[in-house]
Amino acid sequence: MSEIIAKEKEVVVPGEILATGMDYLPSNGTYRHGDNIVSSMLGVLRVDGKVLKTMPLSGAYLPMKGDTIIAQVTEILISGWRVDTNSAYSAVLSLKDGSSSYIPHGADLSQYFGIGDYMITKIVNVTSQNLIDITMKGPGLRKLKGGRAIYVNTNKVPRVIGKGGSMVSMIKNCTGCQITVGQNGVIWVQGEPKNEIIAVDTIKKIEAESHIPGLTEKIKQHLEKVTGKKVNQNVV
């Protein structure tokens, strides 16, 4: 006889028995121990038919192929740049992928990206040893000038973006800031300094309260309060 012991959408801890019996299947963040399915993470239980998953609530960013991230240059190499990805592993931007224009042999690479510069970039490959290749060739990928970068919990990135980008566009509309959210938890905000602060505060609020029901409504009220403007959610 199989049954689910833990409740769906509730917080489960490592070692907590989620279900008994062979009718359920373990997926990410869970494993089978004898007849039981046990959580291997602190997270929220999701039940998808017979498949049990634990969605993590915290944890460092693990680079994935295809992710668009915001990275910072830490080192200029002989033929490329080393960048910090806000994870345990740095990435290399090769000369070939650094610019769409031709970079002559022996050129000063700091002309293109200097140490400390931020960029929106895309991960093209991650090896088994977590060596990372990135590229600047693609729509929207560019060096960032001005503005400010803030760091949030990677697991909260989907919350900051919202369904179909609704949350981030609400903040954009309200503050008039340009906002780019990297999958690695780095968010770049640019606009009027006063508005930048409002945007940053709002993002921090989302990060802190993302697990509380009715988040969108709460953030809407917060934005209306601080900006004094009516927020129209349907305008994207």
């Binding site: 509730e10 121990h33 046990v38 609530l57 592993y89 088994s128 040893q129």
Partner: protein
Amino acid sequence: MSYKKRLDGRDFEEPRPMEAKVGIIPRADGSAMFKIGDTIAYAAVYGPRNLHPRFLQDPTKGILRVNYNMMPFSGSGDRVRPGGSRRSKEIALVTEKALLPVLDLSDFPNAVVDVFIEFPQTDAGSRCAGISAAAMALADAGLAMKDLVSAVAVGKVDDRIVADLCYAEEAYEDGDVADIPMAYLPTLDRFTLLQMDGVVAKDDISKGLELGRKVCRQIAEVQKAALKNKYGAGVEKNDS
């Protein structure tokens, strides 16, 4: 002479009052406090992060690095000299060995997970409190863990088997004392730390282990409640 009543008035199988909190150090990736009686442990977890010096890097998996530190005026007697000692190095090692069996660091080659355990106040059982705190901090850091780790010391004071010795009991002078710190995985039913200091009969060790199991399960409940309590208000019901 026999040990009729515990020095602090507890039942023989009763641990000291416990308290646990998770997420107390905002800058750390994971953190927790575990208090049992007068022993207080704070654990902070950083990482997985880049590991230096490079010769420590393991290309097959991430490593765990534990630091155990008693603050200068944390003991009941003399000032503890700051910095590492033979004792702190040993305890850091056994703590690491007690935590590693539940962790899966194969996703993080060449990286390190750092665990710092600090004691503002101690009254015996510090390595056990440290392990219990570190287990919560590691879970809070979002690392894949097969189980929690709960730790306690059991022992024999004179002729009685007791749970969770306080310092006065460890220093009991009217009879033999044995002190057995252990770490236990409550769901997998495995021990990951077992040390002993003192003299004890074979039968009493089995009885002690049984008692340790029971107390560790109580500790696990406290740890579980603390981890869930961090997200007290519940989780939003819809996906995004």
